[in-house]
Each structure stands twice: as structure tokens, then as C-alpha cells.
Symmetry: C2
Subunit: 329 residues, 2 copies
């Protein structure tokens, strides 16, 4: 910076002024400084700036399995939003979701000097870990739906489950089976609750729930178990991947979809439209979720009075061909 100042014939402070767009710099001077900067290919040192301003311009994201479509999309949305707000994004992905790991990841980020943290951690344990995390910086959770006091943005999983279940009931199915996600996940719980409530409200019998681990494999295994159960005419799966596995198992067992069994998923992953048959599902806009999370974090950062601590986004049903009317026999 001293070099630039010398070349432009001004003091280093004036250089700093043009860099930061401070007022009261004569246009001619500004030009000379800019020219010197280009000439020397000068880049301000962010560490020095961070040291004196006490702002790192960096936000942290801790993510669980960023290989999955949901987390990856949220991360993407967060990054995009952060960039437009002129922040950098540093990621820390978790190996496992116990509260120690979450703590550790947040610590790591804090050590780096992030100004705020977004946690993509849908497990109940993770959120409770966060709740007791006395962080020096704002933290917002995303993708979960707990009732904790922590700021968070999530989908209305319950409402999503309701429309899916209702849709099936309206199609004439006597009841709807449910393939839930793994225990401990907020999404699993809320979707299951929504499903159950809808069944009860509709006066339908509530069958035993199966559960998987979100993977297609686990959906397949569940499918094997129910394929020959004549009771089952409609299944609401907690996510599309499991629905895919279920479809596969049903297909192998020779069951017609939706002729004999209707299936609805959750997420609307890009592939869902090309399953056999194309999957009726509940769409979540993960990118939007990430964006909103960052928005909320930014608000906390500037200390806006808590307008709204929880943001909920409504899911939207996508009708395709895997769900149809119940057979009248």
C-alpha cells in the first residue's frame, strides 16, 4: 500500500480512502491512485483489514452430508446470497451429527473468525447442541423445524405431509401407509406428525409406520416388506430417494403403480420426474431455503429487532403419475 501511495504521490491513508470509497477525495487524486493500483497490481491485505476493522467478511456454514441433494442445494443458495451481500463463505462438514461434532465444527469456524454461522443440521440432537452453544456470533439453523428459541428457517414439513396424505385420501384410499425417515431427524418427525394428523382428521386407520435412512436402499428394503401386503394401496414416503427404492421393489414384485399402489415422495429432486413412473411428490425449494437462512443471519448481524425468529416456507405439491385413484373392488 505504501508503494501505491508513493507511486500516486499521496499518503497511504488517501489510498485507503479511495479503496473504501470514502468521500472527500478529489477525482483527479482518485484517478491517480486507481492507476497506481492497476500498475502495481495491488491487492489489499484482508488479514490486516480484518484485524483493524474487526470484521472478517466471512460467514461459516456447517453442513451434514453435503453430498445429498438437499444440503448441497442449500449450501449453494447460501453461497450465492452471501456473495451478493459481499461475504465469503467457509464450510465445515460434519462426519457425524452428535452434539460434540457440531460443537467442534462451530468452534473451528469461530477460530477462523467468522462473523456468523448457518447450520444445516436437521437432526434434533444437533439443534439442541446449538441451543446450548453460547456463541459469540449469531447462529441460524436451517432445514429443521424444532420449537427451540434458536433462529431458524425451515419448510413446513407438517403441511407438506398433510397435502400429500390428503391427496391420497381424496383419491379414495382407505388409508395411507408411511415410510418415515430415520429417528432423530426433525424432518422425519414433522412429516410423520403431519401424516398421522391428516389420517386421524379424516377418520382413517393409522397403520404402523416403516422407517428408512433416507437412502434408496432403505426404501427398497421397505418395499420388499410391503410388496405383498394387500392392505397397502398408498404409501407416502418421507423423501424421494426412498420412494425410488420403494418403486423399484414394487416393480420387481410385479405390482402396478399407481394401478395397485400409489406412491408419493417428498423433495422433488431433479430426477423425480423421470422415475418409473414419474413421481408425485412435494417440492421443497432448497436454494430458497438457503437464501432465506442467510437473509436471517444478515439481519441478526446488523442487529435488526427480532422481526421474526422462525421463517417457514410452504411446500408445494407436484402431481405426476405415481399416485392415482384407489381401485374400487
Amino acid at each position: 500500500m505504501a508503494d501505491v501511495a508513493k507511486l500516486a504521490g499521496v499518503s497511504h491513508q488517501t489510498v485507503s480512502r479511495v479503496l473504501n470509497g470514502a468521500p472527500h477525495v478529489r477525482p483527479g487524486t482518485r484517478e491517480r491512485v486507481l492507476a497506481a493500483i492497476r500498475e502495481l497490481d495491488y491487492r489489499p491485505n484482508s488479514a490486516a483489514r480484518a484485524l483493524v476493522t474487526r470484521r472478517s467478511q466471512t460467514l461459516g456454514v456447517v453442513s451434514f452430508d453435503s453430498t445429498l441433494y438437499g444440503p448441497a442445494s442449500m449450501l449453494d443458495g447460501i453461497e450465492r446470497a452471501a456473495r451478493t451481500a459481499d461475504y465469503f463463505v467457509s464450510v465445515a462438514s460434519l462426519r457425524s451429527l452428535d452434539s460434540r461434532s457440531v460443537q467442534e465444527a462451530v468452534d473451528r469456524l469461530l477460530d477462523q473468525g467468522v462473523e456468523g454461522v448457518v447450520v444445516i443440521a436437521p437432526q434434533i440432537s444437533a439443534v439442541s447442541a446449538l441451543a446450548k452453544l453460547s456463541s459469540s456470533v449469531p447462529v441460524v439453523a436451517v432445514g429443521s423445524g424444532s420449537r427451540s428459541r434458536m433462529p431458524m428457517v425451515s419448510f413446513d414439513n407438517r403441511a407438506g405431509a398433510e397435502v400429500a396424505t390428503r391427496h391420497l385420501l381424496d383419491l379414495g384410499h382407505r388409508t395411507v401407509h408411511h415410510l418415515a425417515g430415520p429417528a432423530g431427524w426433525m424432518e422425519s418427525r414433522d412429516r410423520q406428525d403431519g401424516w398421522r394428523q391428516t389420517l386421524e382428521a379424516g377418520g382413517a386407520r393409522v397403520p404402523r409406520v416403516g422407517s428408512g435412512d433416507w437412502s434408496a436402499r432403505s426404501g427398497y428394503e421397505a418395499g420388499l416388506r410391503i410388496a405383498h401386503d394387500p392392505e397397502v394401496t398408498a404409501v407416502f414416503c418421507a423423501n424421494d430417494h426412498m420412494a425410488l427404492g420403494l418403486l423399484r421393489a414394487l416393480h420387481e414384485a410385479g405390482r402396478a403403480i399407481p394401478g395397485e399402489i400409489s406412491v408419493i415422495g417428498f423433495d422433488d429432486i431433479p430426477e423425480a420426474a423421470y422415475f418409473t413412473p414419474p413421481l408425485t411428490t412435494v417440492r421443497q425449494d432448497f436454494g430458497e431455503l438457503g437464501r432465506r437462512a442467510l437473509e436471517l443471519l444478515l439481519e441478526e448481524l446488523v442487529g435488526v429487532a427480532h422481526t421474526r425468529n422462525h421463517v417457514q416456507i410452504s411446500p408445494e405439491m407436484v402431481l405426476r403419475r405415481s399416485a392415482g385413484p384407489a381401485r374400487r373392488d
Copy 2:
């Protein structure tokens, strides 16, 4: 830090010494300092440290569409590897893949003071942008396969295409059609080259290639076009998503798979095993790829003599049910 020093009754330099594990600190003193650190919940300021050491402990990753399974997995692999090497990772995702965007993203990262950059940028234009990028820090490209001088790690896409094509030929198919990826991508080009060479080596006719944009939708559209072409008995798709769309279109047209048409994909995404039918494909271990890229970057960072500038990983064929023997009629 001064507070810690005072509490422990030592100088700030001694605190620095225990923080950095410097030798010549009496165990008793170290204990007192550690206790003071815990007591005050002190965290070293990374900006100050970066300023004086000139090392940010941060690596940058620029990624194209981190929503896709491949990039997301690589990012994940990179992050994990970076963490074990005690680096932070900062991400910048691109909107588009023109050379200006790449330039911009790398600049952004550089402004932040990263010590090195991994670019997940499979487009030819991106790599050529990198080549002329005179960066002050090491850069490695990943997932591509150009012949440029830039350090990079990639899959041997050509070899992958060869085994897939050969497999189909060995199954008795007179020739193999190809559904290529979009123009401008290194993966598209290399896979297509591998396919073509194998056909030529086997004395088979080289049919016209179709091409998609990696999406299931584009695969579906291509499928619609070839579904009624009796010439087509085997298709090698440049990725699994397009294969999924193709499968769908073929299914709708009533073509039996693999009875009438065999299909092979590329990537082995987690869902591939549950397609209808389960997809024979070529597996890429994206996580491994990311890890290796980081390894290479780390080597550059410590200035190891260029042992090997290009790392290539061999893909592996995964046999499932979508490819079978040609009908003898």
C-alpha cells in the same frame, strides 16, 4: 492475549509460545497458561496471526454447479482433506462457466487471501481461462482432463468410455450408440473419444452421436428420438442422469431393457442401483478425486518438486441389469 498473560503471570510471548507449541516452556508454566486460557475462554485472533505469519490457513474452492452430485461430492472430499491438513476452505460457486466468471471467482478468493485454489471446472473454456491466469498462489484443477500444463487430477474418462463400449460390443451388439454430454465439457469430449476409438478398434460402424446437457430431461428427449429406431440396440450415455431420462423414454415407448436395448451410464450416482432396471454404469469416486486434488495442492504449497503434475484415477465398471446380450434374430 494480554489478559491471559496477566492472569497466568507471564508475558504475552510465553502465551504465544504455548499456543504454538514452541519448545522451552516449563510444564508448570504451560499448565498455568492453559488454565488461564480456559478460564477466560480465550481464542487467538486469526486475522492478527495471518497478518504476521502471512499464512491464512485457508484454501479456496471454485465450483460450478455444486448442486450436482459430482461437484458436491468433490467439494465434500476436498473439505474433509483440508480439515485433516488443518486448513479452512472457502467456496465460490460460479453462475456460468465463461472465462470471466472463473477469473472473477478466483480473484474473489485471492482477495480473501487464500493460500491455494482448487477449481472444479470441467469446461474446456474454464481450464483455458485458468491457464492464462497468472495467479500468485498455486491452483489445481479437478475433474477435467485437458492436456494443458496446469496441475490437475481427473478420471480417465477415455478409459471409462472404453470399458463401457467394449462391454456392449462383447455382449454381441453390432455397434453402440452414444448420448454425449454438452459440447465444451472435457468429460463429454473424452468419453466420446473413448467410445469412438473402441468402436473403430472393434471394426464397428460409428453412428451419429446425440447429445444432451447432463440432465435427465435431455436424456428423455434423446430417448424419444431413438425409441423407434430399430438400428439402436445399445446406448452408452455420458452420465447416469441422462441414462435415467433415456430409460424413461424407452420404457414409455414400450421397449424392453435390456431385452431390446441395452443402456450403460457413467458416474454411478447412488440412485443408479434403483433405476428401472438397475443401471449398469461406470463408477467415479468423486470424493477420492477431491481428496487427491487437495493432496496435489498441498504438495504445490510446500513446493515439492513436481513429482507428477497430472493425477489420473481409473474408473471402474459396475455391472447391473440395464445391459445385456444382443438379440440374435
